[in-house]
């Protein structure tokens, strides 16, 4: 008993010691020891995995990178493509050569001049196999990029040349009308050569990182916060209104909402699905919902029965889903029903819709039943299918609703299988055991190509395994076309083919959702959901 008591005291003393030790040390508060300057607080739903422009992958990393870095071109507050690090550019008549003129006053955050060679360095690094960049594929349209990624050529042979300090010449493999939009992507941002060579992998540490955007990174605690401060050397620094930006990493959407309510966060990264109705009521003024370049779909595994060579069944299932009920009653969070693959709001493109988009649901169900019978199914011989989705409340709710819509309209017997996300992805790619799977696609640039491209034969993200000669032909025709008006017709024709073949069931288009505090000014909704901090300002209280 004496022994236990001693142990007990030791343990207690230890606990007191630990607690006291911390409390005696100066608490390093937010951890960055920064002086109190007007600060914009933004919420992020996941950690940016990297602030290395060529290694970053997530939309969250891109969001932070757009604040600290800058490409040749960028978007204005109104969502227009404008010169960023480049003040102007010319495009050759064949659409293959781009000549960029880089601003004289463009600077790195240490005051060094930004030169064309910094872009050459970064773009070569992007395609260099040793970098292992996720987004290397984004620039395959640049001459020799594909061969360099495959290890068949040296990165120095990339079709990007610095003619002098301020002139960058880019040669493309094929005309690419969305090239400028592509160049707003952080993977094409420049790097300070000296700092990368000096620090190696550690060049992204806040104490080492040199940036050429409106802000610089001064503090980063993974899973917690990134703090940015005004970059005094930025060429357009005079136009930056907010001195500091804190990106708070808060994976729990409810916590983001609570912190917004408590006034600790000015802009949330999302809105919690379960509180959406309450939020819409309580924060009608602050809630921003805008169309977003993303589509949520169910994909068919086209390499196995029952969906291989069975377009009737595929179309019947697609038609029997009441998308209006799905988005309004089942999900109820402002999403738009999808009757096409390419979301509305894409530049230079006329939305194509399913031929049955204008029918009532009863008419659609009648047609679906006819197709279902043509495919050889009936009440006595119902189709038995399986839907796989990743484990989550929302996915479950959608799957359950669709299961009952199919049962009611057609008598289909559906089994639902939920899996952890990484497991689902592995199964989708293997295409062995899947029948119908849940998928989504977010556009990388404002062009229909970013959606249509992935369903071409052999595209790695073509998880349904769709392969159609007419479709591929139209896509190739579009790729060769330099006239945007003609190219657009090919792309639209391709989508018409796609929608008649039903390799996927588009269900709804994403919308971006943010709560924006009234003290934030200059916020503009846009389809890319880009919101540069340098375009925002804070109302003085």
């Amino acid at each position: 008993m004496l022994r236990s008591m001693k142990l007990f005291r030791i343990v207690l003393l230890l606990l007191v010691g630990i607690a006291a030790g911390y409390l005696l040390l100066p608490l390093d508060d937010s951890g960055d020891g920064s002086p109190a300057v007007p600060t914009l607080h933004r919420g992020l739903v996941t950690d940016p995995e990297s602030v290395d422009p060529q290694k970053a992958r997530s939309t969250q990393a891109a969001e932070v990178l757009r604040d600290i870095g800058e490409g040749l071109v960028g978007y204005s507050a109104e969502g227009k493509l404008v010169g960023a690090a480049a003040e102007s550019w010319t495009i050759s008549d064949d659409g293959l050569t781009y000549t960029f003129l880089i601003r004289d006053n463009a600077r790195w955050s240490n005051g060094d001049a930004l030169s064309a060679a910094d872009f050459v360095f970064a773009l070569r690094r992007l395609v260099d196999p040793a970098t292992a960049a996720f987004y290397a594929e984004a620039v395959v349209v640049i001459a020799n990029a594909e061969q360099i990624i495959a290890g068949e050529m040296s990165p120095t042979e990339l079709g990007v040349v610095a003619q002098d300090d301020h002139t960058l010449i880019m040669t493309l493999q094929q005309p690419t009308p969305y090239m400028l939009s592509l160049l707003t992507h952080p993977s094409t941002f420049p790097l300070h050569r000296g700092s990368v060579q000096q620090h190696g992998d550690a060049f992204t540490r806040p104490e080492n990182l040199l940036s050429n955007g409106a802000y610089k990174l001064v503090f980063w605690e993974p899973s917690s916060m990134l703090r940015l401060q005004r970059n005094e050397h930025y060429w357009n620094n005079a136009a930056t209104a907010i001195d500091a930006v804190n990106y708070h990493v808060i994976t729990q959407e409810v916590t983001q909402l609570n912190r917004f309510r408590a006034g600790e966060i000015d802009i949330t990264g999302s809105v919690p699905p379960d509180s959406f109705a309450a939020v819409r009521e309580q924060f009608a003024e602050q809630l921003h919902i805008a169309p977003y370049l993303g589509v949520y779909y169910y994909g068919y595994n086209l390499s196995k029965p029952p969906f291989a060579d069975n377009p009737e069944l595929r179309q019947a299932l697609s038609m029997a889903i009441d998308r209006e009920v799905l988005v309004e009653k089942v999900i109820g969070r402002g999403e738009a029903p999808a009757y096409s693959w390419v979301p509305p709001g894409v530049d230079n493109y006329a939305p194509i819709r399913f031929s049955y988009a204008d029918m009532s649901q009863e008419e659609r169900n009648a047609t679906a039943r006819r197709l279902y019978h043509e495919a050889g199914y009936s009440k006595d011989n119902p189709a038995q299918i399986e839907v796989r989705y990743n484990t989550s409340d929302t996915q479950q709710r959608i799957a359950l609703a669709i299961q009952s819509m199919w049962a009611e309209a057609l008598g289909v017997q559906t089994t639902l299988v939920n899996e952890e996300f990484q497991v689902l992805l592995a199964n989708m790619q293997a295409a062995e055991i899947t029948q119908i799977f849940r998928g989504s696609w977010i556009g990388d640039y404002n062009d229909a190509h970013t959606f249509l491209n992935i369903l071409q034969s052999g595209n790695p993200s073509n998880t349904p395994g769709f392969s159609n000669k007419r479709y591929d032909q139209r896509m190739q025709d579009a790729a060769k076309q330099t006239d945007p008006a003609k190219r657009r017709l090919y792309l639209e024709e391709a989508e018409r083919v796609l929608l008649s073949e039903h390799p996927v069931i588009p269900l709804y288009f994403y919308v971006s959702k943010h709560l924006v505090s009234p003290r934030v000014q200059g916020w503009g909704d846009n389809v890319l959901d880009y919101h540069y901090s340098q375009h925002l300002s804070l109302a003085t209280d």
Partner: protein, 307 residues
Amino acid sequence: MLRYALLRLLGAIPTLLLVIVLAFLMVHAAPGGPFDAERVLPPEIEANIAKAYHLDEPLPQQFFSYLSGLLHGDMGPSYRYRDHTVGDLISSAFPLSLLLGAMAMLLAVVIGVSAGTLAALRKDSLLDRMLMALAMTGISIPVFVIAPLLVLLLAVQLQWLPAGWSGTAGAGKYVLPVISLALPQIAYIARLTRASMIDVLGSDFIRTARAQGLGTGAIVRLHALKPSMLPVLSYMGPAIAAILTGSVVVEEIFGIPGLGQHFVRGALNRDYTLVLGIVVFYATLVVLLNLVVDLLYGVIDPRIRRR
């Protein structure tokens, strides 16, 4: 004594090795990989990434290079946080989990033991009933309900305390997480203390002490408290181990960058090195703590030392 410690340390090596092997095999057996995403990578790029992270090598080779890295104190780069090493992440996250856990446990012991003693002394009184009803509530309501309720009341409505962790200054941000962590422990310790205190207070030696004219305060302090702490002590062993591992739920709710969050996120992201690193770290910690406790027993009880 030194010999005993060394022998024990040597004995820990096979245990650790076994843990590493099992953990290594398990993370690699999980379906999906660290770089899988809905945006499927072209095969060339996938090959480049696998090469950069040595995932293209045969598993035994990967294992031995991991082990040799460990021996040099290098737990490798995180696959998900590409700008950070696993060592960085653990060394910044562990102190936080440790601090929160220690503060919560301290709070739990002080309040739990006091409340339990008070209830035992006023057995079957209104106070006792109220305290135990509170304790029962504390045990039955899970922390993922209590914590958001506390946030709603104290942070959102009254605005006394910050609602989250990052970017908030001062000691205020510790209050809600510590209370949320401590509440169930307080409740549990209070019930344990009450039960064992009632037992002890009814025993003969306490009656003798009373017969000698000692007051209630002195009896509790001098005679009853020590023996009634035994069940609490045996409960605290596993409880401390649990708080050291960081509370995943509390860390999630408040957005605290502690080890628990890294572990769960690492497992979901298939961040092999991060998950392995944390497993190895904990295994080492547990082995060391056991050793320390055994040595302490040796200090306290000479019979163990002599063996």
